[in-house]
């Protein structure tokens, strides 16, 4: 290959690298350029630090896990979850699934049920609510469970089985009140604008991309119902910018598994529904944590 050709190759390679980076960074700029699509203030309950033992030891970066849940009656009374990354929400019915692009199936026949469930996941826009009625219901349910099991334990004094259940329900209530995420997926659609018109509060409803896979809800005694399994696109992890690292880095590994209110994070979502962390501050639960230094870092 002569020098001219090598020069051309060099120019093409440099242009390819430059153009690719320009497209990627241009997308980032466009995402963040207008008024944020959503702007929520979240605590450690919703944006959890990675467990020290689960981190890649040589990675020096830091990302937070976005913890969200779905309201699912079938989850069981003791399974409201600390961090969830998917589930079959109660509101996701056959009509919703058709609206998301899935072909309806005749669930009464084996063939129809198979045809329905074998459809592969589709992309959807998820509406995630912070501390709304769905969370209030989960909280009320945990309180009701705790009360019921406490009463049963009192009525069966001396029974280890009842005492264990009561303790389990009490722990579950404590988690629901103090550490479980208050973010719940409450709706899904294909048009972000329509969803935003339906849920106009940008500080309470977060729109993010996710995937939905067909599932069948089969409760004994009733006809099977079409539903879907919701999961987030990507890893669900949000990168922490260098400027916010200090506070969060010092909290990492202290009192795992975390899930308290040691810090609050302002999470913004842009036009492309891509999130970023705009700010991080010590939270109301920071007092429970080891003392923080002048820059807000836990020592």
């Amino acid at each position: 290959m002569n020098n001219l050709t090598r020069s051309h190759t060099l120019a093409i390679g440099i242009a390819l690298i430059a153009l690719t980076n320009a497209v990627a960074l241009g997308g980032v700029w466009w995402n963040r350029s207008a008024t944020p699509e959503s702007a929520l203030t979240l605590s450690e309950r919703e944006l959890g630090l990675p467990w020290r033992s689960l981190r890649f030891a040589e990675e020096s970066g830091l990302s937070l896990n976005l913890n969200w849940r779905v309201g699912d009656r079938e989850a069981g009374e003791f399974v409201s979850g600390y961090t969830f990354s998917g589930g079959t929400p109660e509101w996701l019915d056959a009509a919703h699934m058709v609206a998301l692009g899935f072909a309806p199936g005749d669930l009464d026949s084996d063939r129809g049920r198979r045809s329905y469930t074998r459809q592969l996941p589709r992309e959807a826009i998820l509406v995630i609510e912070l501390g709304g009625p769905t969370w209030q219901r989960a909280l009320a349910r945990a309180r009701e469970n705790a009360g019921r099991h406490a009463a049963a334990a009192a009525a069966n004094a001396g029974s280890k089985q009842f005492a264990d259940r009561a303790r389990q329900a009490r722990d579950e209530l404590a988690r629901e009140e103090g550490s479980n995420s208050r973010l719940f997926v409450i709706d899904a659609g294909l048009d972000a604008r329509q969803l935003r018109e339906k849920y106009p509060d940008r500080h309470r409803f977060l729109l993010l991309r996710g995937t939905v896979r067909p599932a069948v809800r089969d409760r004994g005694g009733t006809a099977p119902q079409a539903t879907g399994y919701v999961s987030r696109i990507g890893s669900g992890r949000i990168h922490v910018p260098y400027a916010q690292r200090g506070l969060l880095e010092s909290a990492r590994g202290v009192g795992e598994p975390g899930g308290r209110d040691r810090f609050t994070v302002e999470l913004l979502v842009g036009q492309r529904l891509e999130p970023w962390i705009a700010d991080a501050r010590p939270g109301s639960g920071a007092a429970d944590a080891p003392p923080a230094n002048h820059s807000g870092e836990f020592r």
Partner: protein, 362 residues
């Protein structure tokens, strides 16, 4: 008369090998009294060959004898392993330290590293007659570019997209064709495979990361890869056309093999047994066609892959049919006899496609 173009390195190596073969055969013919060149002819041929060997050695550092060829193989292995290790080193180096920099510095490092590695590759390529060091640098440049885009996605929480596969493929092809590197060509082909099957999946509404769950999504890219070297000549890149065909056939046979055992993964909304039966038949037919076409066109890799998958399809069927019901000695006897039968068929096929006497092998 046009000036002969400078050969590529593989073409030069092929010519050197041909010269050695010619010399050996000429010596045998002389010993057997069939042909003996006179002194003038011998001197002319010898001088011409020596000039060619010296020229190729200077230009491409070709292997001038069998010992050099053996050492070259070792160097190729070392170069391949070194290239992988250096690419991994770049990846871990960035992971180890990137958290200590602000976003601007991170982005600057991420953009600068593939630019520098690519420029270094071009620089080395102009001075490295062997191509081994060029391969090292090229793979590092590719790894830097992959890291560049992947890390930008992580830093700015960009939604994962199959579109990232396109510039990666473009970079891999650029390096492969510039530096004559099959390793980078394989990387580029893998990116193209992933992108095309993802696109085919998204046309059906499937989220791109799940497109691979329908193995039929690989069939269009299989056809594309198999046909590509027929449409675009690769005379100057001798190993490239077989690599396209190998990947094309793998994209055909592996999905077929999966579907012949797991019919529920098919796009076809039929009974799983019907789908599996259909793909078993299709697998046999496609493998037989590959063997026939490969033998007819002189594509050894096509023949070999056809044979391998024909045998896999056959033996998996044997296993399904007879493993439980046959005594093991009888099962393996049937397998062995089948192998003999395949050998006989292939021998017959070889005779069928043998060139007429006097035409010579290509």
């Amino acid at each position: 008369m046009t000036e002969p173009t400078l050969p590529s390195r593989p073409e030069a190596q092929q010519r050197v090998d041909d010269i050695h073969t010619f010399r050996n055969e000429l010596a045998r013919l002389a010993d057997e009294g069939v042909l003996r060149l006179d002194a003038t002819q011998q001197a002319a041929v010898g001088k011409h060959h020596e000039r060619l060997l010296a020229e190729f050695a200077a230009l491409f550092d070709v292997d001038r004898d069998s010992r050099a060829k053996q050492l070259s193989l070792g160097m190729r292995v070392a170069s391949f392993l070194g290239a992988l290790a250096l690419a991994a080193s770049v990846f871990f180096l960035f992971y180890q330290f990137w958290g200590h920099f602000g976003e601007t510095a991170q982005v600057a490092i991420l953009i600068a590293s593939p630019l520098a590695a690519f420029a270094l590759t071009m620089f080395i390529q102009g001075r490295d007659a062997t191509g081994y060091f060029t391969k090292l640098a090229a793979l590092v440049a590719f790894a830097c570019f992959v890291l560049n885009i992947a890390m930008l996605g992580q830093i700015f929480n960009i939604t994962p997209s199959d579109r990232a596969l396109l510039p990666w493929a473009a970079m891999a092809f650029l390096l492969a064709y510039t530096c004559d590197l099959r390793l980078l060509l394989a990387a580029g082909i893998c990116c193209v495979i992933a992108w095309v099957q993802a696109r085919v999946g998204t046309w059906n509404g499937i989220y791109w990361l799940h497109a691979g769950e329908r193995p039929e999504n690989f069939f269009p890219v299989a056809a594309l890869l198999f046909v590509f070297p027929l449409l675009v000549g690769h005379r100057r890149f001798p190993g490239f056309a077989p690599l396209y065909r190998i990947f094309g056939l793998l994209c055909l046979f592996i999905p077929m093999l999966i579907l012949s055992h797991w019919g529920r993964a098919s796009h076809l909304d039929l009974d799983a047994d019907q789908v599996e039966g259909g793909y078993q038949v299709a697998g046999f037919v496609a493998a037989a066609l590959a063997i026939w076409l490969g033998a007819r066109r002189g594509w050894p890799e096509t023949v070999n892959i056809g044979i391998v998958f024909f045998v896999i399809f056959l033996y998996t069927k044997f296993y399904q049919w007879w493993w439980e019901i046959m005594p093991k000695y009888l099962f393996f006897l049937v397998v062995g006899l089948t192998a003999v039968l395949i050998l006989l068929i292939l021998r017959r096929l070889r005779r069928t496609f043998r060139p007429p006497t006097g035409e010579g092998a290509p």
